[in-house]
């Protein structure tokens, strides 16, 4: 019996999809292996250099997740317009929450075994669990808790920061570029204040990494654990 040509079309499509899916899975698991190796060798060299590196984020803790040494996560928080970015680089993590206007916070912390507890100005705090490909937790900004479940991303998605001094004031802006390319950003016109206020950031031009704030050109740099930028 001859197979009708439209059915052949469908079979070819399914076969192509299956092979692409398979090579995607291979690519991701190869990346997983490379990350595990990299963090293992980093751990080895770190323990040779400094004995007390207990917080080394190495692979495969007890919960069965692979914890990457370097990872960028971004995504929206639940039930809200805000987005959160989480960047883990060896023993240091930077997080940023913003809603594209007045609510935002920069946070810092030390990762430990796939867990993070971070703090920022205005009593901002963040707790998260992270593993290969995925992070989830809660960020508290301006007294409001936001729950998030976000995914690992690569350039050009991720976190961008710009710090500039204009007429004596430090302007600090942050942008989160989501996995689908949409961006959300906020800007602190006077970042040195104890309780800096924020407003919407101008649109960040990703190719040139610049944004125009009135007559000022803000130059942004990526905070990217995978390329080691911003640490």
């Amino acid at each position: 019996m001859k197979i009708p040509t439209p059915v052949i079309t469908l079979i070819v499509g399914v076969a192509l999809a299956a092979s692409l899916l398979f090579s995607s899975m291979t690519a991701v698991s190869a990346k997983k292996d490379a990350l595990a190796k990299a963090s293992a060798s980093a751990a080895a060299s770190a323990s040779a250099a400094a004995t007390a590196s207990a917080a080394q984020p190495t692979a495969t803790p007890s919960r069965g997740f692979v914890v990457p040494a370097h990872a960028n996560y971004v995504g929206k928080v639940k039930a809200n317009e805000g987005s959160v970015a989480l960047v883990v680089h060896d023993n240091f993590a930077i997080a940023y929450y913003c809603n594209g206007s007045t609510e935002e916070a920069w946070l810092k912390g030390t990762p430990h075994d796939g867990k993070l507890s971070m703090t920022g100005k205005n009593n901002a705090s963040l707790t998260a669990d992270y593993a290969l490909g995925h992070a989830r937790g809660t960020v508290v900004v301006d007294g409001t808790a936001h729950i998030f479940s976000i995914i690992a991303v690569h350039k050009p998605s991720g976190l961008y920061q710009s710090i500039a001094t204009v007429r004596g004031a430090t302007i600090k802006a942050g942008w989160i570029v989501l996995a689908d390319g949409t961006q959300v950003g906020s800007l602190e016109p006077n970042a040195d204040a104890a309780q800096p206020s924020a407003q919407a950031a101008p649109k960040l031009d990703i190719p040139s990494l610049t944004a125009r704030d009135g007559d000022t050109t803000l130059v942004a740099k990526p905070i990217d654990a995978e390329i080691g930028s911003g640490f």
Partner: protein
Amino acid sequence: MAAQWGPPAPTRRDPVQPARSATLLVVPALAGGLVALTLGIYGRLHSPTGVAVDIVGFSSPATVKAWLASAAVVFALVQLGSALVMYGKVPGISAPSWTRGLHRWSGRIAFILTVPVVVHCLYALGFQTFSTRVLVHSIAGCLFFGAFTVKMLALTRRGMPGWVLPVLGGLVFTLLVVLWFTSAFWFFSIFGFRR
């Protein structure tokens, strides 16, 4: 053999044909529904990886997808044009003999171009609902492959009413254009035409 999948020429509409039954569409429709549901459920349950295979020569998977989807829409426009000609809807043009071949091959190419896109969408991003655009895109994506399955399987069955193929083809075309507007068009309008 292949000629029988083409649409009936309007001049051949014969009053003593055997009864045409839309019930022949039941199995293709069930199969298409299964495809759409499978994609949607996989996209919802599978934890998005954020990564997939990159294609050399493009700056990111998103740009690859935008260009592949745009190419698919161009072939889909060929589909629309050749279908209109075949059904005699373009005044002054009678379908040349190669119209059917053009219609089939442009369709096959358009479909194959969409496959890497959907694999990346589902594997790296998943079925998402965080904005209207994304929700519309996710739903249309599942429906597109369901509708395409119905269209392909409907082609293999004879004796269906004449409206079936144009409606299915129009549905597939419309869904593809919706997908393109909610992804590639949106992407280019924000990031500009880039590779």
